[in-house]
Subunit: 291 residues, 2 copies
């Protein structure tokens, strides 16, 4: 596995591979790999001739009071895990090379970024869309892989890739969960033992909504209220949002239908976690047994 | 010359040419060709293996009260002129194919777009940067050609191309002028005979600034005041701005130095015209004799 630090080298290497007729898969990450990341890498490995994984804690997607400085990093471990999965290229640029002095250009996806995490984290998706557009241009992959845990992010990236004519495929893979259902996230690292136990309230809230929906309840307000109640029963939890939204446009639904998405975000003390489930599927179970 | 209407066909055609090892030159235009456009096409023809010219009156770069509906169009003439210059591909998409229903993504270049035309035309450069990013992705040219007449636009595109890692070269070619100095523009078409005569005030204002600078005057305020006076002497003219700015950052200069840019924008009755000159060069003369 080659480690590339310089954007220009990444571009040249990718261009040469593409000229040789090889199909590139890109897995953009902020590092500190868990099974969720590895599931993306494995899919890329299975579908593409060459796999590029980027590891970059992107400063422009963190707000002023957020956890940019604290975000967990373990580059050596990430390299070992990536190499063991057969990754060909690991791209880990320095922030100053990604955003050199004088940098001025940002990609905005309207509408989709207004609610949910976009409302709680102003500028977050602008940073995400910008860095992903840059990675797409540097690597020009045939396919890019994202996790469903960041559901809104995945929709924003799909929209951006289509709107700006990147001409690549965006694949969104299922959430990977801990045995007790907690969605895997690098931020789970922040949780104390007690917080870790309470953090399953997001999964349990989604389970409650899925169960009610399966039993015939389609009132989105009712489903959201039940999710809220599950989260708020935990003393360390503070709800950010709980809602049922359209799968593509992320707009609130009054009536839940199969394919709509139940989404939840909550702080467990200082740690902000998110999770979701597509109603009418068994993705909560599938995710929990996958690990 | 092939005429392509569908973005997906443009992408595929360009991709095949690139895979064949050919170097593509792109000349993005809004059509209604004049000698300025043709000078870009000729340069592309001389430097590249294949020349793509896009003809698209881009709605997102026009403001609500602006001339989108009036903007002059003559597609048959553009095709004849392009074919005569040896253009290989003319890409002329429909607006609905460029911005299909649900479109949501825009590219913003900060700082550079705040002053000058950006201040008078809110959203203009957002529309420009967005459509050019899309054209870059569809055509993936080695070189893209723009005219210096739209000086701020050229700087915005250069910045965007570098910031988003498009990995292509942006070439900016000199202004082509009418025999009396008026910068060629599709909008000159709007002018009556009397307005056409008065419209040379932009060129004359720049000439006055260049002359003063050559004689040792470096006070930017003084140079701007002289430009303003030349424009305002014409009864049909209303100044938008006259300034001396930094060549790359477009920020106002207190002292003009060689390489700084004198810029002017004015309405001649309802027609908005812009022009500029790089101080310490003879680009006003060179432009005027080029046609």
């Amino acid at each position: 596995m080659d480690i590339i630090r310089i954007p220009g080298e990444m571009r040249e290497t990718a261009e040469n591979l593409r000229r040789a007729g090889l199909r590139l898969g890109l897995v953009p990450t902020m590092g500190y790999f868990h099974e969720g990341h590895l599931s993306l890498i494995r899919r890329a490995r299975a579908e593409c001739d060459r796999v590029v994984v980027s590891v970059f804690v992107n400063p422009t997607q963190f707000g002023p009071g957020e956890d940019l400085g604290l975000y967990p990093r373990d580059f050596d471990r990430d390299c070992e895990l990536a190499a063991a999965e057969g990754v060909d290229l690991l791209f880990a640029p320095a922030a100053d090379d990604v955003y050199p002095p004088g940098y001025a250009t940002y990609v905005d996806v309207e509408r989709l970024t207004e609610g949910l995490c976009g409302a709680s984290r102003p500028g977050h998706f602008r940073g995400v869309a910008t860095v992903v557009a840059k990675l797409f241009n540097l690597c020009r992959p045939a396919v890019a892989y994202f996790g469903q845990k960041d559901y809104q992010q995945a929709q924003v990236i799909k929209r951006m890739a289509a709107d700006l004519d990147f001409g690549l495929q965006v694949e969104v893979l299922p959430i990977v969960r801990e045995p007790d259902g907690l969605a895997m996230s690098s931020r789970n690292q922040y949780l104390s033992v007690d917080e870790r136990r309470q953090a399953t309230c997001l999964y349990r809230a989604l389970g409650r909504a899925a169960e009610l929906f399966a039993s015939g309840e389609t009132g989105a307000e009712r489903l959201a209220a039940e999710m809220r109640a599950v989260v708020e029963a935990e003393p360390a939890a503070r709800l950010d949002y709980a809602a049922v939204v359209d799968a593509n446009e992320l707009t609130p639904r009054r009536r839940a239908a199969p394919g709509a998405v139940a989404v939840v975000a909550a702080f467990i003390n200082d740690t902000r976690l998110i999770d979701n489930t597509i109603l009418g599927t068994d993705d909560l179970k599938a995710g929990a047994t996958a690990c």
